[in-house]
Symmetry: C2
Subunit: 150 residues, 2 copies
């Protein structure tokens, strides 16, 4: 099994693919209980089929298809940006065991910001959360992307 930073580098590589496609650069990787990468994805909300195509949702969908089961017990998710409320609630619904994210998202995050979904009374599955893994690199991809947009 590799360590958190190594998996996050793979998530970052996915975020860079998003930037190359003019999409908000967020990348995500899901590993199974053996530490094997079972899915990787990046955000395609703008130019994809719909605005809900966040990296986390896409990676969870692909992982569930690969495992042939509706939930992802024992799986861990690495994502470059703090998940939003949609993704956080999806993570709880899918029973992801642990979530590791890089950069904090003060405006749109829902884990340590916003509605802090996992701490809310109606959340019925609270994953273990690790924040700030390679946060500078994760954040820089985003700030560079938005700087170039201006």
């Amino acid at each position: 099994m590799r360590n958190d930073e190594e998996y996050m580098r793979l998530a970052i590589a996915n975020a860079k693919k998003a930037a190359d496609s003019d999409e908000v650069p967020v990348g995500c990787v899901i590993i199974d209980k053996n530490g094997d990468v079972i899915s990787e994805a990046y955000n395609t909300g703008e130019h994809g089929k719909n605005a809900m195509e966040h990296a986390e949702v896409k990676a969870m969908r692909e992982a569930a298809e690969k495992l042939g089961q509706p939930r992802l017990w024992d799986c861990e998710m690495y994502v470059t940006l703090e998940p939003c409320a949609m993704c956080a609630a999806g993570i709880a619904m899918m029973r992801i065991k642990r979530v590791i994210f890089g950069a904090e998202n003060e405006k749109g995050g829902a884990v340590i910001n916003g509605v802090k979904y996992f701490e809310s009374a109606t959340c019925n599955h609270k994953p273990e959360v690790t924040s700030g893994v390679l946060k500078n690199e994760c954040g820089e991809i985003l700030s560079t992307f938005f700087k170039n947009k201006r």
Copy 2:
């Protein structure tokens, strides 16, 4: 254009299809600005590909594909049950203009219960909300389903 109850009856018909497939009976219909139904869907979270396959997410995805655009400005959503946090955040992300729901969901809802997502500080699009349309019929399908499960 038909009225709220007529569209909700179509959402209820979808919820019944979910029950017939042994899925939690929630149904959803999306109409465009002309009042034409552009998508209808029901929950397939248990026996479908993944637990995130809620009626609302499926209907929004289908509507976006049909319209060929990532967001659903000017569209309205009819759903038999109060949306959860995942769906509420998805609704905001997709810029749905108005959400009409039937039964209230005290345990898992996120509109008038739980995190009340649309009223939260990080929500950047607040749809018009109408609650309680045909709420008894919408709720009865669910209570009958869970009674038969016991």
